[in-house]
């Protein structure tokens, strides 16, 4: 049976999170959504996703902090970040740490789909 990739969505904004979930499912992937970074880290019942899309500005823990925590824990899977406040410094840090993409909000759904496909392809290699 063909493996259906699972995409994790981490965003504190309900509207964005639910719309992304719908979009990802319409693209034929499985979606799991989390309202915060700690919530994602606390989910021990499922395996790592095939890809993660995370917001940068979140209360409790930011997207790049989440990235660092995952790397430190040895959990490596393709990551795509999005932000409404793109800054050059954050972009550099996140990309240097191995992120697949750094997108400005609002991001075009086509762009998201393209980066997601590329990330999943990379993850399978």
């Amino acid at each position: 049976m063909q493996h259906i990739p699972t995409v994790a969505i981490v965003d504190d904004d309900d509207g964005v999170r639910s719309s992304l979930t719908s979009l990802i499912r319409s693209l034929g992937y499985k979606a799991r959504s989390y309202g915060s970074a700690p919530q994602f880290l606390a989910d021990r019942e499922t395996d790592d996703p095939d890809c993660m899309i995370a917001d940068i500005q979140m209360p409790e823990m930011t997207g790049d902090e989440l990235q660092a925590a995952l790397i430190a824990a040895g959990r490596r899977f393709p990551m795509i970040f999005m932000t409404a406040f793109p800054t050059a410094i954050t972009r550099e840090r996140v990309m240097a740490a191995g992120a697949c993409a750094f997108l400005d909000k609002p991001a075009e759904p086509d762009t998201i789909a393209r980066h997601l496909a590329a990330a999943l392809a990379r993850g399978r290699d």
Binding site: D13, G15, V16, S18, S22, R25, S26, L27, F85, K105
Partner: protein, 626 residues
């Protein structure tokens, strides 16, 4: 005392002679001795005594003759009696003549004693023969002490010129005058103005020198003090770093007197509304003298011909001369202000000045103006203001930046959700078997996210148009004055003339002082910018009036190019601007502020140029709570 003694002696002598004459057997002219009686009586110096003695002598001579010889002619005795009578008569006449001459001299001496000048007479040997009372008092030696002394030795006379030269002038012309120094008995040196005249006797021979001396020691000291003071002030004038200009305002005084003021109008407001009159006065006010500091200030080498009147020095846009004239006409003794003067190279120099109007005694020709160059201070101030403006701009930009970021974040989230949901809905719909359930829920989320975005926009707008928080009663004149002061520099730089006309007895308005001030500042700055590139007169007139009981109107009328009809419609729209670096928020915020105060902000721009902004603010009605 002496008089009485002489009288008694004369009487006794007369008695002795008489007795001897009748009792003595001697045949001789005994009666001739009555001459002695007359001379004794003359010693009293009185005319009456001489005449009485003469009468007694003559009577007694005749009496003795009659007693001895009877009333008959008796040859030799008769001849002797006649000789005696003649001798007495002649002696009497001589004595009377002498008495008259002595009386004249005594009167003259008394007169000389009345003089305040020191008067003395010295003979050809230089010995003092006369010494008046003033000489006694001033020099300190009595008549007895001075008489017979050599004048130059006694007074240790110091001559400014060689003594021989003075004597030569004295003998050639008969007189000499000049200044000498004498030493008094107390040892003090005094300065005297001395006048000498030669004295001659009846034969024309020089017998002495008549000398009068006036004590000028104090006068000389006072003069010296005056000269000293004059020099000191000249030194201050010449060496001061403060520019000093001496001006003659007498023509201005005369011209001011001819101004016919309308009823109730003050001179200052008359001058303010008649710049031509002020311009004429500038040309009438002459510059008499300037000091080196002022010459340096205007960059002139010497008192140049170009600076004959105040008009040559003051810059064209000067606003201070009218008020100075008003102060002068009021009789103020002092007036100060800040203006710009023009250098010979045409550059302008900012200065502060103080005018001292002279007292009545001194006359209008001696008006002194003290001028201090404040270029450096102004530059420093400008730098500070520039820094402040940059800081304020930076702060505003920072605030706007934060606001933009927060708007971006708040609005971008729902926007992203809308687009993403929409896209998802499309994909669910375009599937081979469209999943209408998913489409339905995605579009439902599109709608709710759209609503959420519009709520956010509403919230931001509410935040930007907060109502005034600090309300107080504000004096409209003060409001305009303060706002004008804040932008005075900008207007001066743009060479804009500002005229403020505030109606009397305007009621106060209620509002936030800072916010309303900013509205007025904004409108003034806009007017200045509108006129900055404009040729022709740049005049901004701010009037405040009360068109009705309910409101006060502040109108700002400029002489700029005006506003085109199509721009006029959109002028107050947010983000509408005609300036290359404008934000387009100024007038929008001004109108919002006016409306938040219950007022209005409108504009009119009639064809032919010039725009007028009208800020109308409500007046609290009586009894209404503030």
């Amino acid at each position: 005392m002496n008089t009485t003694a002489f009288r008694i002696a004369a009487a006794l002598l007369a008695l002795c002679i008489f007795l001897f004459d009748i009792l003595s057997p001697l045949e001789g002219a005994v009666a001739v001795l009555y001459v002695l009686v007359v001379l004794l009586a003359a010693a009293t110096g009185r005319r009456g005594d001489i005449l009485a003695a003469a009468a007694a002598g003559l009577t007694l001579t005749v009496a003795a003759y009659v007693d001895t010889h009877g009333p008959h002619l008796a040859g030799a005795p008769t001849l002797r009696a006649l000789v005696s009578l003649a001798a007495t008569g002649i002696a009497t006449v001589l004595a009377l003549k002498n008495q008259a001459a002595t009386a004249t001299l005594a009167a003259q001496a008394r007169l000389l004693n009345l003089s305040h000048d020191m008067i003395f007479v010295r003979d050809i040997l230089g010995q003092i023969t006369f010494w008046n009372r003033a000489a006694e008092e001033t020099y300190g030696w009595s008549v007895a002490e001075a008489t017979g002394r050599i004048a130059d030795d006694l007074l240790e006379t110091r001559y400014a010129r060689p003594r021989g030269e003075i004597d030569r002038v004295l003998h050639e012309t008969g007189r000499w005058d000049g200044t000498l120094e004498h030493r008094t008995k107390a040892g003090e040196w005094i300065t005297v103005e001395s006048r000498w005249a030669l004295q001659h006797d009846a034969q024309g021979r020089v017998v002495g020198v008549f000398e009068t001396n006036t004590d000028v020691t104090e006068r000389k000291a006072a003069h010296a003090a005056l000269v000293h003071s004059e020099r000191r002030y000249r030194r201050m004038f010449d060496a001061s770093r403060i520019g000093v200009v001496q001006e003659d305002w007498s023509a201005a005084r005369a011209a001011l007197a001819t101004i016919d003021l309308a009823d109730g109008a003050s001179l200052s407001s008359h001058l303010a509304s008649h710049p031509d009159v002020v311009a004429r006065m500038r040309r009438l006010t002459k510059i008499i003298d300037v000091n080196p500091a002022f010459l340096a200030m205007i960059g002139a080498g010497s008192s140049s011909q170009f600076h004959q009147t105040v008009d040559d020095v003051l810059c064209e846009t000067d606003q201070t001369f009218g008020p100075a004239l008003a102060a002068f006409a009021r009789g103020d003794s002092f007036h100060e202000g800040e203006t710009e003067i023009v250098r010979t190279d045409g550059r302008r120099v900012p200065v502060i000045f103080a005018i001292t109007f002279p007292t009545v005694d001194d006359g209008d020709g001696n008006v002194l103006v003290f001028v201090v160059d404040i270029t450096e201070r102004r530059q420093a101030q400008d730098a500070v203001l520039q820094a402040q403006a940059e800081l304020a701009h930076a702060a505003r930009v920072a605030t706007l930046g934060e606001l933009t970021a927060s708007i971006a974040h708040e609005v971008n989230q729902p926007l992203m959700a809308v687009v993403t949901n929409g896209e998802a809905a499309l994909r669910w719909l375009r599937r081979d078997q469209p999943d209408l359930q998913e489409v339905d829920s995605a579009i439902g989320r599109v709608v709710s996210e759209g609503r959420r975005a519009s709520e956010i926009v509403k919230r931001i707008r509410a935040f930007l148009t907060k109502t005034p928080t600090r309300s107080s009663a504000l004096d409209v004149a003060a409001l305009i004055e303060e706002a004008a002061q804040l932008v005075q520099r900008e207007l001066a730089r743009a060479e804009v003339e500002l005229r403020i006309e505030v109606a009397t007895e305007l009621p106060p308005v209620i509002g936030d002082r800072i916010q309303l001030q900013q509205v007025v500042v904004n409108l003034i700055v806009n007017a200045g910018q509108a006129m900055a590139e404009h040729d022709g007169r740049r005049l901004l007139t701010i009037t405040a009036s009360q068109p009705s009981d309910a409101c006060v109107e502040i109108a700002l009328q400029d002489t700029g190019p005006g506003i085109s009809p199509q721009n006029l419609e959109r002028l107050f729209d947010p983000f509408f601007t005609t300036k290359p670096d404008g934000m387009g928020m100024g007038l929008a915020i001004c109108r919002t502020t006016a409306e938040a105060h219950g007022g209005k902000l409108s504009v009119e721009s009639p064809p032919g140029g010039g725009a007028t902004f009208r800020l109308t603010l409500p007046v609290p009605q009586h009894g209404a709570p503030e």
